[in-house]
Subunit: 462 residues, 2 copies
């Protein structure tokens, strides 16, 4: 199978240039100002699948952005791999913190990426990792080594909750029928120690609005006499955690599955340096739930974070005003067995209940998704592990990720198949942050590894 | 003195049109984007003083915006009144809540202003109230009834802390020498019950910045494991008040003067309807310090209000991010005897001390000022009371205002003279809010009343 290594080396420049072209389109799904760019990206992905060798490709209309569907069916009796990815990206702000424009990709070397990394919004999440699969297909078609059937489902709303994807999957179960779902939208421990994500956290994302007086007021004439919605919002947010950083929403932990001492010991084996972690983030101390270490706090434990807050005068200088309204965007990361809809209701009920009579509160659910766990003994996991082992020369470690890919649980429910999360990014790739990047080594290694997954999955399926 | 009534009636339209022209210039001192407009307004005020009959007018350069100085000295042996006002205005945002553009003045009638009110930013605070004094001078000059000397000092930085005014006053004590300072930058109880503000609150305005990780982070990969600066800021802000809404900053109340039962009983005589108050603000309940009623909470008690807060993703849709930084603008209203510089230091020390090790905190003082109390037995107060009594037919009530005019304390210190706060606005005029307005009745009543102050002050000074 060294032909793949050779093929990648020979086409390296082109693979990078094709990805760079894709990254130049600002497909920010959260901001309607970019809607045409999102559509343009869908068309670019469609074209790339046709070029790579799919027999059939189409843009499937949805209530939101279109889903790119492509397939190459070589023999209905052979297994079918369904590749999922997304072509939309996170907003780029705060734009001023980018060292190069987010949609003008550049390759720079970093300490962890001596061979260079592509810097651009979406480089790793998920255009780069999605495009590895397109190029892996190209290789298998060109060298006539595709061992099974393949389907692609690339969506454009992952960063805003995949609302249309759920709608689409429910209506196209036959079209999407498959034996395993393959996704590269996660990371691995390091370039020398690959890992496969076996657990994901769920998500509940809400927006809250606190209204005090019906208009902005002079803080001198009214200060001290009326509820200031910003002070109240701060108080309400603060009350959502207790002194041990446990979340105080009644019933929040009821369905949380505590890991056994053995499982926690197993997790603790993953290499981790608290000093390096703090150094990388330039923080003097970590912060989180009492009784759990960092790698547990961000993976097997649920969380509540304010993702955005605003209210009152935020411009230059000073304005002595009491705002009429204060707002916050709040998300909760959930663990397997917590139901995101139930948690959203618990939050809403609790948040409304703690509001003083002097203000009015509105809680608006944004979106959410369930947590998920992949069984290590599944054929899919085994095939992926062998593939990594071949290309990295090391057995991958199964890890729980703190991130959420809500639709993984949806896939299992609607399509009755397991998902394998073959991630090739690194935690340090700054996804969702300024200066997001994706290592050239990781990109090419992904293209090398994916065909091996097809090979082993087909063999193990016999 | 009915000639003044007549003069005002004859020139009513022109008085209104001249004020409207002044209000059209967006002299927002807090936002450097409007700096040329602020300068233009200074020049317009200068021209209006020359036209009204000052013998000498100049724009005095300062480290910031110029101060308009004007004077008419008829006899050095006669008393001198120094009129203070400001030509800058608050920012207009939130712009979308204005029913007419903030810098396109329109006259509309309201329940409290059946004769109509001028709607525009600065209509009441302070262009309208300042311009009453210019027109009162015009009347006295035209009718040769100016009984004493007059000086004008109109500044352009009141809404951002009057930094240059302090600088200017310290350097021009002789030029500004006077027997009483007259300011119309406050309100009165109602159009049938005038009042004179005898007490003002001081102010300490700070901006805080909480920094967590050195970059925005993915809330899934890091959520729960690092300090979220927004959650921490909310927690720190919440902790600044206890369950009785007392401020928790150590030493904050040390110099607060408790009023006697008699004084509080006297204050309670001012007409006030809690129901109307709540109705006007559309709130179900008031909110404030335990042990004090609304009219005490907003006047004789110090407060701490967040005037603005921002951090993380505040755009459309959802972004699952942990922000690197969170910010807030916080102001404290102080009562006489609290020193604003000392309070600012106490806040800074305390706020830094309550920050967890996982974040870094920066407290940046914006500006401040001392509280002030006007003696009711002073000649100035007596003259003002007689003037209101003549024009309204009712004895004015002395009231404590919750607002701050920091420079009043400065004047006493530097110029050794007392300040009389002859306000003609109403609390409902929405100063600092969208749809600020100033009653036509109030505007004209002010022009009528001011010359009477000059008359009585000169007589009582003999």
């Amino acid at each position: 199978m060294d032909t793949i290594k050779q093929y990648v080396q020979e086409n390296k420049e082109r693979f990078i240039n094709e990805l760079v072209d894709l990254l130049k389109i600002p497909s920010v799904s959260a901001d309607s100002a970019y809607s045409q760019d999102v559509i343009d990206t869908a068309n670019a992905v469609k074209a790339s699948l046709e070029k790579a060798g799919c027999d059939f490709v189409e843009l499937c209309e949805t209530p939101g952005y279109p889903i790119v569907y492509g397939e190459k069916i070589i023999d209905p009796k052979l297994p079918t791999v369904l590749v999922y990815g997304h072509y939309d990206v996170q907003p780029a702000d705060p734009i001023e913190l980018w060292t190069s424009p987010p949609f003008e990709p550049v390759i720079k070397t970093t300490e962890l990426h001596p061979d260079g990394a592509i810097f651009a919004r979406g480089a790793c999440d998920d255009k780069g990792q999605m495009y590895m699969h397109v190029k892996a297909l190209e290789y298998m078609v060109q060298t006539n080594t595709l061992p099974c059937n393949v389907k692609f489902m690339i969506e454009g709303e992952e960063e805003v909750g995949s609302a249309s994807l759920g709608w689409f999957v429910e209506r196209n179960q036959e079209k999407l029928a498959n034996d395993v779902i393959l996704i590269s939208d996660t990371g691995m421990i390091s370039n020398t120690q690959p890992s496969i994500t076996t657990g994901l956290r769920g998500l509940s994302y809400v927006e809250v609005e606190v209204t005090g007086p019906n208009r902005d007021l002079h803080s001198g004439l009214y200060g001290g006499a009326v509820a200031n919605p910003i002070n109240i919002l701060a108080k309400m947010i603060a009350s959502l955690h207790d002194e041990n950083n446990h979340i105080t929403i009644p019933g929040f932990y009821d369905k949380v599955q505590e890991l056994s001492t053995e499982e926690r010991a197993e997790m603790a084996k993953a290499p981790f340096s608290l000093e390096n972690y703090k150094k990388a983030l330039n923080i003097d101390d970590v912060y989180g739930e009492t009784g759990y270490v960092t790698n547990e706090r961000n993976s097997i434990r649920p969380t509540l974070d304010v993702n955005g807050i605003w209210g009152g005068y935020t411009g230059e200088g000073a304005k002595t005003v009491i705002a009429s309204k204060a707002h916050a965007k709040i998300s909760m990361r959930l663990v397997p067995n917590q139901d995101w809809k139930e948690i959203t209701e618990l939050f809403q009920k609790h948040f409304e209940s703690i509001a003083p009579k002097a203000v009015k509160v509105v809680v608006k659910p944004h979106h959410g998704g369930q947590g998920y766990v992949t069984p290590i003994d599944s054929i899919g996991y085994q095939a992926a592990a062998k593939a990594y082992n071949d290309t990295f020369g090391v057995q991958p470690i199964p890890v729980r990720s703190g991130g959420s890919i809500p639709i993984v649980a949806l896939f299992e429910k609607e399509l009755k198949s397991k998902t394998i999360l073959m991630g090739f990014g690194l935690d340090s790739d700054a996804i969702h942050s300024p200066n997001e990047h994706f290592g050239v080594f990781n990109y090419l290694k992904g293209i090398e590894t994916i065909p091996l997954f097809y090979k082993y999955f087909t063999e193990l399926s016999k």
